[in-house]
Amino acid sequence: MDIIRIENVTKSFAKHVALDNVSLSIPEGSIYGLLGPNGAGKTTLLRIINRITAPDNGSVIFEGREITADDVYRIGYMPEERGLYKKMKVGEQAIFFARLKGMSRKEATDKLKGWFEKFGIESWWNRNVSELSKGMAQKVQFIATVLHEPKLLIFDEPFSGFDPINANLLKSEILTLRDKGATIIFSTHNMSSVEEVCDHITLIDKSRNILSGNVEEIRHRHGANIFEIDYRGEEVDLRKAIEGRCEIMDSTPSPVGFNKMKLHIATDSEVRGVIAAANGSVEIRSFREIIPSMNDIFIRAVNGNL
């Protein structure tokens, strides 16, 4: 079931169209990546899901019905720019945000103690936010976002500004939250994080949804019939054997190990022929399809080459 469906959402500001007829569905329990270059409209879309901004046209369906004001209690949002009151004590501030999300003071305090212990930051409770480093403040912000155990969590560029250790901590927390049943949407332009954690993505470029779906499926769908052979033997023999059956994109001889050759095979039916021919001329160690990284797909999609 889809927890969120965006249907034909359009939003424009004074002279600029931020979202142009965007539709997408986010399956419940997924980790959903919203990708796109800067200025593509990701943040606007996240704000619309959060009801911060209203769409000009189209609708947001939350659990099968039009989203209402009360639904924000079940959404947690961490904006790209972290926002905390600098001169407020950490604990008090987290309680304040939790109460705004509908929790009682007592409930918020109890849950916060648990999170502070988990992150080993109990001693921060009475410190001013201005005394914390940027990474520390981000941890506090993360806790404030997830404290009310929302069904849907929205992170805008969650990994920007985190050091690798804290980024990993954040990643594993996100996976834990998903395992507990939350759905997570995050926007990013950091592709490696997408491959590691996302199971679904949407690629937004120039205000439009240009690519949507399951990550594995997309990578295979956009596999570009590129193969790599590792072999022992003469390069010239191999070239002669497979000539005409495929296009040789790249060849790297190696003085010690196996030579490598990259091929583009236009049709699937040709693959067996190429393997047979190659096998007759050199000693094949491996033959495999190269699945493009999300990074390649992202760049090719944005450049219009998909």
């Binding site: 904006p79 720019e81 926002g83 009151y85 001169k87």
Partner: protein, 439 residues
């Protein structure tokens, strides 16, 4: 969605009230204010200013013996000619030279000062000389019993004014002092002026700060922008009301317990007499002005009206201005950018201050009436009129207009606020703000 205004008001209130700067200014300001109000009074009561000695060279021989000394000036006649006297008495405050033909040529008077002179001193001298000359001229008419006649015609007048309430007899009539009303009008309207500016700008700056550190974006995902704005405005308002209440309590208790100790004994005695004997007892007392003032200030009904109106107009004016300041704060990224947009708000505040000065001269003029009805100027101008005991219906109408226009302004301000808090990097102009209102 349950209203979150309460939670936001609570945060605003707690954060501000706990600040050291709040506690310090709240406790110190009344003493500064009292000091500023009463210091001049106490100084004149207790201080003996330096005695100024003036040597008098009187060539006409009629003026010098008639000059009267007082607390400030002592005239010392000298037979020396003026040229010598000027060098001889260079350690005196001044040397006064009166020409021999003073009866005919009234301008033949010179004052050689060794320091700086003052208008009051010169007036003292000319008045005294004029009196002597008048007496001398009267003598020339050979009127019989002149000294008795002069003593007889000399009269001093002082007014006791009462509020005209025919149902009360003369004895019970409330005395009213226009001096007190004027001082109150100044103090109250000035207080309101400071209050609107300081607290209004405080709201604006705190919105800008929240916008800059992006707290607003976190909050806006769980609170409606209107609630955020109202929560902030009401939070700051409650801090302000608390502060004013503390001030009134402090000033009140100081006035009640400390003033009797500081005031000179004869005034305290006369006051006690007045409280027992009512207005009639005043006749004999010397310093009627001060007594009347103190009587008026101890009139509870009068003070209660003023305090109630102060609360109504201070809160109403603050809400109105704070809504506009919040809208401006939401639309800019830094206080510098806010300068230009603030101008349309600052102008009515400054206009009210100018109108206030003319209102104090004539609190019932058309100008005073209309400016105390127009919502942007009414808080300050109304507070300048209320001490003069204007009709209650005027206060009521003005208050209703003020609160109605607050509702209208807050509606527009909320629309600007809603758009403004998510806009970064661009400095909008008034035209754009107008367009945001119609989004």
């Amino acid at each position: 969605m349950k209203s979150k205004i309460g939670i936001i008001i609570g945060r605003e209130f707690n954060e501000r009230v706990r600040k050291k700067s709040f506690i310090i200014t709240t406790l110190l300001t009344p003493f500064l204010m009292l000091g500023m109000m009463f210091a001049p009074m106490l100084i004149t009561i207790y201080s003996e200013s330096d005695l100024k000695q003036i040597a008098v060279v009187d060539d006409s021989k009629i003026i010098a013996q008639a000059l009267q000394n007082n607390k400030e000036v002592e005239f010392i006649a000298t037979p020396l000619p003026i040229e010598i006297a000027r060098t001889e008495y260079s350690d005196y405050f001044a040397v006064l030279h009166i020409g021999s033909d003073i009866m005919e040529n009234h301008n033949n008077v010179q004052l050689y000062t060794n320091g700086s002179t003052s208008i009051a001193l010169e007036q003292n001298i000319t008045t005294q000389i004029e009196m002597v000359l008048q007496n001398e001229k009267l003598k020339k008419h050979n009127i019989e019993n002149l000294p008795q006649i002069l003593a007889d015609i000399e009269s001093n007048v002082s007014i006791q004014s009462y509020k005209n309430a025919p149902e009360k007899s003369g004895e019970e009539a409330e005395s009213s002092s226009s001096v007190v009303a004027t001082v109150l009008a100044y103090v109250l309207s000035f207080m309101l002026y400071m209050f609107l500016l300081i607290y209004g700008v405080m709201v604006m700056q705190s919105v800008i700060e929240e916008k800059n550190n992006r707290v607003l974006e976190v909050m806006v995902s769980s609170v409606r922008p209107f609630e955020m704005m109202m929560g902030k405005i009401l939070g700051v308002a409650s801090v302000a009301v608390l502060q004013i209440a503390i001030w009134i309590a402090l000033i009140g208790s100081v006035a009640y317990f400390v003033m009797p100790m500081v005031l000179p004994d004869e005034i305290v005695a006369a006051l006690a007499m007045m409280k027992e004997g009512g207005a009639a007892a005043m006749q004999g007392a010397g310093e009627i002005g001060i007594l009347q003032a103190i009587m008026m200030l101890s009139n509870m009904e009068y003070i209660a009206t003023i305090l109630a109106s102060l609360l109504i107009f201070m809160v109403g004016g603050f809400l109105l201005y704070a809504a506009m300041y919040a809208a401006i704060g939401s639309s800019v990224d830094s206080p510098q950018d806010a300068q230009q947009l603030q101008t349309p708000i600052t102008i009515p505040i400054i206009v009210s201050l100018f109108v206030m000065i003319s209102v104090i001269n004539d609190p019932t003029s058309d100008l005073a009436f209309w400016f105390s009805m127009i919502p942007l100027t009414s808080p300050i101008v109304m507070m300048a009129r209320i001490p003069y005991e204007i009709p209650a219906w005027e206060i009521a109408v003005s208050a209703v207009i003020l609160y109605a226009s607050f509702l209208l302004v807050v509606w527009g301000a909320a629309k600007i606020y809603r758009v403004g808090i998510l806009m970064h990097g661009k400095k909008p102009n008034l035209k754009e703000l107008w367009r945001w209102m119609k989004y």
